[in-house]
């Protein structure tokens, strides 16, 4: 993997871009020509070397820039991090999960030394060297979960399990696809999924909830979700809608390949040991239409998926303003060749 961390922005001048290697490992989500919701959960216990599934927590060339974008969002709006008081055990579970995973999977970049509860954490890319006492809040510069989620890509929502349900009671959410942790804090599984069309009718949430209540420590799972975003913007939050909403009508046939990005969320779920909570990580990957069409197979597949997409899903995902333009842009690249099942680029 290319570990030269990029200096780039996810706002204003949008200097974000993917290297050829980043495009190649992009988690393209469409294995078939038609897309419909499914539970599509699989084990998250490692994947192909180099792929985004290889490690429990993926670190890529955008790591430093994404952490900086999170810092900017929090400076503006500290409420993007929310912690209800009964979640302190879960906060420390998060510290352990992230520090153990990163130091195990990227030993050249992150080091963790433990002597009982005395921990020493070194994060080289961000220049952090921190000694602290595990379990003692006073030894960290801020709450444990805020501290560690500022050092990892993607949003993290920690779900408390009680009454045979899951509640969003702790979270760091700064790079979301138009939902709000402040709005959803304390809500139950079915409450925060309420707005999703089609899926409830399919009984998907009943099955997914039952499955997650039985999620075991040591056996994390993952799924992919997707939407589209105009410009490579991570913070497409309802709170900041005025800053990005108007971009949706800025797409033209000339700029569509550059402006429209497929936004794929690698959602992983980990049972946490001390708190019995579940950590739900939502890691977004952005690739422009131009990035994706460097692979003809992806161009054809995306063309068909967007053409066949159910109107309710298109509306829910906010694609209506520009979906047809993307389809028209991709149409000349689709010769109708039959594509075998699978998400691979070639």
């Amino acid at each position: 993997m290319n570990m030269a961390f990029k200096q780039e922005t996810f706002r204003d001048d949008y200097t974000y871009h993917n290297s050829a290697e980043a495009i190649r490992r992009f988690p393209f989500p469409f294995a078939e020509d038609e897309y419909m919701y499914s539970v599509n959960i699989e084990q998250h216990n490692g994947g192909e070397p180099g792929s985004v599934f290889e490690h429990a927590i993926d670190v890529d060339e955008h790591y430093v820039a994404e952490c900086e974008d999170r810092r900017i969002v929090l400076e503006d709006d500290p409420n993007r991090y929310i912690a209800l008081p009964h979640m302190m055990d879960a906060q420390w579970d998060m510290v352990e999960l992230v520090m153990e995973s990163l130091s195990r999977d990227y030993p050249d970049l992150f080091q963790l030394t433990r002597d009982g509860d005395n921990w020493h954490w070194i994060n080289q890319p961000l220049g952090i060297d921190q000694k602290f006492v595990f379990g003692d809040e006073a030894t960290l510069p801020m709450q444990p979960c805020e501290y560690i989620t500022r050092q990892v890509q993607g949003d993290w929502i920690i779900l408390d399990q009680r009454d045979d349900d899951l509640f969003a009671d702790l979270g760091m959410v700064t790079s979301q696809a138009d939902w709000s942790m402040a709005f959803d804090a304390g809500m139950s599984f079915k409450e925060w999924h309420g707005p999703v069309p089609q899926a409830n009718e399919l009984g998907i949430f009943d099955r997914a909830l039952k499955y997650l209540l039985h999620l075991q420590y040591g056996s994390p799972v993952r799924r992919l979700n997707w939407t589209m975003t105009i410009n490579p913007r991570l913070d497409t939050s309802p709170e900041n809608y005025p800053f990005w909403g108007p971009d949706n009508v800025s797409v033209t046939p000339d700029n569509v390949g550059d402006k429209v990005h497929l936004r794929v969320e690698l959602q992983a779920l980990f049972r946490l040991p001390r708190s019995n909570a579940i950590a739900f990580s939502v890691r977004g990957y952005l690739a422009s239409i131009n990035d994706l069409t460097t692979y003809p197979r992806w161009a054809k597949r995306l063309h068909r998926v967007l053409t066949n997409l159910h109107p309710d899903l298109s509306e829910y995902k906010g694609l209506d303003n520009y979906r047809q333009m993307v389809i028209d842009h991709l149409a000349p690249m689709d010769d109708g060749e039959e594509l075998a099942l699978g998400t691979q680029p070639e």
Binding site: H86, M87, D89, D93, E96, D160, Q161, R162, D163, K210, H214, Q216, Y217, G218, S219, P273, R274, S275, N276
Partner: protein, 317 residues
């Protein structure tokens, strides 16, 4: 399912019928952390047949150099508790699952009342470690048959101080559940683990007193009852499995090479639920997961503890 290879480090006779086992990981590493109220499923190879029994993790959740479980020798044991008592010695190797918690403390409760009967004390041993650590308000009420059956009494006195109350049946001491529940403030959660009549009584009294259902917690693992032999057909694979009278349906399917899902193996969690395609007789539901209504409908079965009185049961697996 993630499995841990462990070795028995110590065996202690706690009472005439209860043994306490200390387990350490074979590779010498600390065991995974867990939350109070968790259990593990222990696999035992008894004369070539794999038995898997759930046991609560006791002891401190902060120290995972070893795990602690206690096993009561059951009079009508199908082999599991007998094996643990008679065959398992220091040095014995066993396999256990990662901890699973079906009996967690509700972190939003204002007060927690724990009611244990006999060997039902075990899940509370780790819950109390968490309650003490978190500084929560709680009381433990522990009922047992006679003075010599009071497992872990001294340890509990040390851990709980004035918060623990003992009720010894042979001395005529009785826990008055309705009176106990009546004096609790709003926001109290109650938890029980023990013999079935005790669990049922608690639920009944709590309901009569208007307690919200989600403030009443219980954990009951049922050992798979013996019954008549019957045949299960797995609809997806077409495999036919004979379930002998002394084996559970889940065990029989596993022995036939199928890999049905499972978690607690005691009828509590619902993970092994299978859809019933057809049954030419009666389903004998023994689980605590399905509602009475669902049991009457007969569309699902929990193969870990339930079986059928029929010649053929077809399930969607």
């Amino acid at each position: 399912m993630s499995i841990l290879d462990v070795k028995v480090a110590d065996v202690e006779q706690v009472t005439e019928v209860v043994k306490h086992f200390t387990l350490v990981q074979e590779n010498g590493e600390p065991l995974p952390h867990f939350s109070g109220g968790s259990h593990v499923v222990v696999s035992m190879n008894i004369n070539g047949r794999i038995h898997r029994n759930p046991y609560s993790l006791m002891g401190s959740t902060a120290n995972t150099d070893s795990y602690h479980i206690s096993v009561r020798k059951q009079e009508n044991s199908r082999g599991g508790s007998k094996f643990m008592h008679e065959q398992v010695k220091p040095g014995t190797r066993l396999q256990i699952t990662y901890p699973v918690n079906l009996f967690a403390i509700s972190k939003l409760g204002h007060r927690h009342i724990l009611i244990a009967g006999g060997i039902g004390i075990t899940p509370f041993m780790s819950q109390i470690a968490d309650l003490n650590r978190l500084g929560y308000d709680y009381e433990l009420h522990y009922a047992y048959r006679s003075p010599e059956h009071g497992a872990f009494r001294e340890q509990l006195e040390e851990m709980c101080g004035k918060r623990v109350h003992f009720y010894i049946d042979s001395k005529g001491e009785r826990l008055d559940i309705p009176a106990l529940l009546k004096q609790q403030p709003l926001g109290t959660h109650v938890y029980t683990c023990g013999p079935e009549p005790m669990v049922k009584a608690l639920h009944l009294h709590a309901e009569n007193l208007g307690w919200p259902e989600n403030h009443v917690h219980s954990e009951e693992f049922t050992a798979p009852p013996v019954g008549d032999e019957f045949t299960v057909e797995l609809a997806q694979s077409g495999i036919e499995v004979t379930v002998p009278g002394d084996m559970s349906m889940l065990e029989a399917m596993e022995e036939a090479g199928a890999e049905p899902p499972f978690l607690c193996r005691g009828g509590a969690c619902g993970r092994c639920e299978l859809e019933v395609v057809s049954c030419d007789g009666l389903i004998m539901h023994n689980d605590h997961y399905l509602s009475d209504h669902e049991k009457a409908e007969g569309r699902s079965i929990m193969p870990c503890v339930s079986r059928a009185k029929c010649s053929k049961l077809v399930v969607n697996l």
